[in-house]
């Protein structure tokens, strides 16, 4: 019921809307783009209902590759075909890529200067803390999925982290076990 009401109030973006909308999301997205994508697409521009957004994002988490890029591609193609998909992906990835190239060039040129090196030492330590926080908040939801889920996550962490085994090898072993486990539970 709620979904229908929201669905009828959504608007269909044009191809330029897609480009500029996703560019705005990308440039606003400090420390992860997802919250900005939800706010812009669902609340501000009403391109999708909250349910439609969650459903499409679930598909993107299941597909390999960068989630939000997949999201922009699928949404863009549904709304505007190939030009829509291209506009959405280029909007999301293009402007921040240019920014990254500028930052990377500055880093190559000045990163070894003492002041830059000292500031980057602090920045890297803080970035590590943010990643630990992300990992911990994700891990907190694991125990209710059972001991098996916790063990699989621990194996992935130890194998790819401290042991530094190749990701492909670890995935070939763990992914089938984990999916078989989820299949029996489903």
């Amino acid at each position: 019921m709620t979904e229908n009401v929201l669905a009828t109030s959504t608007v269909v973006p044009t191809v330029p809307d897609l480009f500029f909308g996703f560019a705005k999301i990308a440039i606003s997205g400090f420390g992860g783009v997802l919250p900005w994508a939800r706010r812009t697409i669902v609340q501000q521009r009403r391109w999708m209902s909250a349910d439609e957004f969650n459903d499409l994002f679930a598909i993107c988490q299941f597909l390999p590759g960068p989630n939000i890029v997949n999201f922009s591609l699928i949404y863009g193609s549904r709304v505007g075909g190939v030009p829509g998909a291209a506009a959405a992906v280029l909007g999301l990835v293009g402007p921040p890529t240019v920014l990254m190239i500028v930052l990377g060039t500055l880093y190559s040129r000045y990163g070894a200067l003492p002041q830059a090196r000292d500031a980057l030492t602090g920045l890297a330590a803080a970035a590590a803390g943010l990643l630990i926080a992300t990992a911990v908040s994700m891990a907190e939801m694991l125990p209710r999925r059972g001991l098996g889920a916790v063990l699989i996550a621990a194996a992935a962490l130890v194998g790819v982290g401290p042991m530094q085994w190749p990701l492909l090898a670890v995935l070939i072993v763990l992914v089938p076990i984990s999916i078989a486990r989820a299949w029996r539970a489903a």
């Binding site: 990254m100 030492t121 694991l142 995935l171």
Partner: protein, 177 residues
């Protein structure tokens, strides 16, 4: 770079494969990027890798753009563009063909099982990412303290992470770390 063409080819192959291995997002593939860039090809030190991750985190944009910075360090602007296109392209092509018209995804049993099965793996991989970056950023007690305090602020308060990044840079600049 003595052999730019060869390096660009390695970047292209490496990130095209990684595009498919990034389960639950690009951040899951960071340990593999570290293994390749630091250990296998020795394109950079572990410390430089952590600094690039930090720059990518501090700048706006999707997480995946850490690959732009890695490509740029390895082979300049062509490297940046090839790394970005190869990390996004192959998986996007799959996404494009697989999900068109696939509207009622959440209802089928196999889809639920695959999705539920990928969650613990991706949680573990993000943990591995945190481990690798924390170890690479570790320059002694000062940096460990910054990592711990940033974790605490991000986990238990609603303060914007940008303040922690800015504060930590200022501490570094002041020569405290």
């Amino acid at each position: 770079m003595k052999d730019t063409g060869g390096t660009l080819l390695i970047l292209a192959l490496h990130f095209s494969l990684l595009s498919f291995l990034a389960i639950g997002g690009a951040i899951s593939a960071l340990p593999e990027m570290h293994r390749q860039a630091v250990d296998v090809y020795q394109w950079m030190t572990s410390t430089q890798f952590a600094q690039l991750v930090a720059i990518a985190q501090a700048a706006p944009g999707p997480n995946v753009l850490i690959v732009t910075l890695i490509g740029q360090q390895v082979a300049g602007i062509p490297g940046a563009l090839i790394a970005t296109i190869c990390m996004c392209g192959p998986a996007c092509a799959v996404a494009f063909y697989v999900v068109r018209g696939f509207h009622h995804f959440r209802e089928s049993k196999w889809a639920i099982a695959v999705q539920a099965g990928l969650v613990p793996v991706s949680v573990g991989l993000v943990g591995a990412t945190a481990f690798i970056v924390a170890r690479s950023a570790d320059q002694g007690w000062g940096t460990l303290a910054v990592t711990a305090v940033t974790f605490a602020l991000a986990h238990w308060t609603r303060i914007s992470p940008l303040w922690a990044l800015a504060g930590a840079s200022a501490l570094g600049l002041a020569g405290v770390l």
